[in-house]
Amino acid sequence: MNAISLAGVRKSYGEVLAVDGLDLTMEPGRTVALLGPNGAGKSTTINMLLGLTRPTAGEVRVFGRTPDDAVAAGDVGAMLQEGTLIPELTVRELVDFVRRLYPDPLPLTELLRVTGLTDLASRRADRLSGGQAQRVRFALAIAGSPRLLVLDEPTAAMDVESRRTFWQDMRAYAAEGRTVLFATHYLEEADENSDRVIVIARGQVVADGTAAQIKADAGGTSVEFFLGAQPAARLDALPGVTGVTILSGRATLRTTDTDATVAALYRATTLEISDLRIHGADLEDAFLALTRPSEA
């Protein structure tokens, strides 16, 4: 059974099509990143999975049930994009309150420990820093030991150090066979912390696969060298090459297979090659290429 399945899901807000026909399935036990620019439809998709928003059309299933039933069964925990805590309550009171709502929660001391909140347990929620409050919201999301953990831009208010700790905690939680879905704009976050990246833009899936596949799909790496006045003919026929540009004597070959392209460049041509450089796949470029509205 899939952890999540979306079939023909659409959501419109008046004129705005926030989600435009999503068909997705996610196996249990995987960590999946939902990557997309502002307004792509990430939060809308997540809110439909959580039963907070109803799809205009299509069907959403979580562990084979409706989102409402999955939530009622305690299978789901989530960190929403926006949310505040009850100011008058302490960290311990908040976390304990939420964990008791679930049928089979994590023990309180363990929960505080794994989220690094032990020292902050007696602090009132209105006296936490932004990053600390995010950590509490993460604790609330995992408090019930849910099978599916959903995180909507979880590291938004965190500094570099907190981010690193956060992803470690997330991976530790996922390692116990749970399913995690997180939304992010950060390309490296998606690359480093997930085993599948779903890129969405304008409410549609534009790429789906491992981070490496996505880089390759979007044009991959490039090989650049000094060509001078030599003829550029047949460069586009080299293995792996998907595009050739020549600018003031420098040739740039976009390729899906750097090794093959470079080998062929030396062995199969008689060109004098100098100052050869290989540019690693820039996920940033890949991402922009994928999510840019197509020029019609």
């Binding site: 959580l50 039963g51 907070l52 928003t53 109803r54 939530v71 009622a72 069964a73 305690g74 789901v76 925990g77 989530a78 929403l80 926006e82 949310g83 505040t84 805590l85 009850i86 008058e88 309550l89 009171e93 309150f97 939420v98 008791r100 709502l101 679930y102 049928p103 919201r137 609330l140 019930g144």
Partner: protein, 245 residues
């Protein structure tokens, strides 16, 4: 559910504004007024003012507690995303409003009982066991319409509008209902309005009990009617505010 109730009550008791308006205000005014006028007696019933004031200030505290613990906190929870956080836990939707109502009732008790305690200790107010047994539960359960009103306000308005509306509602009901001065002192047109308010029926039940009379059925029926009407409004508004679109 008991744990949720405890958490809700605890957070309001830590709220300074709540403590000032709801617990400190009625207590301080009781002590002040009872000192000034406590020994006067009501001509028609012969009841000491210290006793009538106990009912009036207790009623004000209870009324304030039930509105202050509901309207603004609930509007804030909806607005700040805390409601959504609760909606993604197994907590059933109906339990949220049930706990809000129950916690309002729990929070009425300190406001009410402190005024009563002050009356007994400083003014030596003494009632028969039967009177106490009727007064306290009546003044406690009688706050249901006000808690329902507070919840309806919290469901229908944003936090920044809930604040003034709750304040106007609270002081309006208290002033016009005769909790701060007798309704008889108002111009006659205002008296008609005042006597139609649930706060007037609510306090009247208390005044009648301490005067040694059985509260008129009309007051009890009117207050019950308000409870049903405002309760219905609160449930309707809650449904509207929590519907998933």
């Amino acid at each position: 559910m008991p744990h949720y109730l405890k958490i809700e009550a605890l957070r309001m008791l830590r709220n300074k504004r709540f403590i000032i308006f709801v617990v400190a205000f009625p207590l301080a005014f009781y002590l002040l007024y009872a000192n000034l006028y406590g020994d006067q007696t009501d001509q028609s019933t012969g009841t000491r003012a210290a006793v009538i004031l106990m009912v009036s200030m207790g009623a004000y505290g209870a009324l304030a507690a039930s509105i202050m613990s509901t309207a603004v906190p609930w509007a804030q929870e909806r607005h700040s995303g805390w409601l959504r956080q609760l909606q993604i836990t197994p907590l059933p939707n109906w339990m949220i409003i049930a706990v809000k109502l129950l916690s309002a009732l729990v929070l009425v008790l300190p406001a009410l009982l402190l005024v009563v305690l002050a009356a007994v200790l400083t003014q030596h107010v003494s009632l028969s066991a039967g009177q106490w047994a009727a007064l306290i539960p009546a003044m406690w359960v009688g706050t249901i319409p006000f808690a329902a009103l507070g919840l309806a306000i919290g469901s229908l308005t944003r936090p920044d509008t809930a604040q003034p509306i709750a304040m106007i509602g609270m002081f309006g009901l208290a002033l016009l209902g005769g909790l701060w001065f007798p309704v008889d002192m108002l111009p006659s047109a205002m008296q008609t309005i005042a006597r139609a308010l649930p706060s007037y029926d609510y306090a009247s039940i208390g005044w009648e009990i301490v005067a040694g009379r059985t509260p008129p059925g009309s007051s009890v029926a009117a207050l019950a009617g308000w409870a049903v009407a405002l309760g219905g409004l609160a449930v309707f508004a809650y449904r509207r505010a929590t519907v998933r679109a």
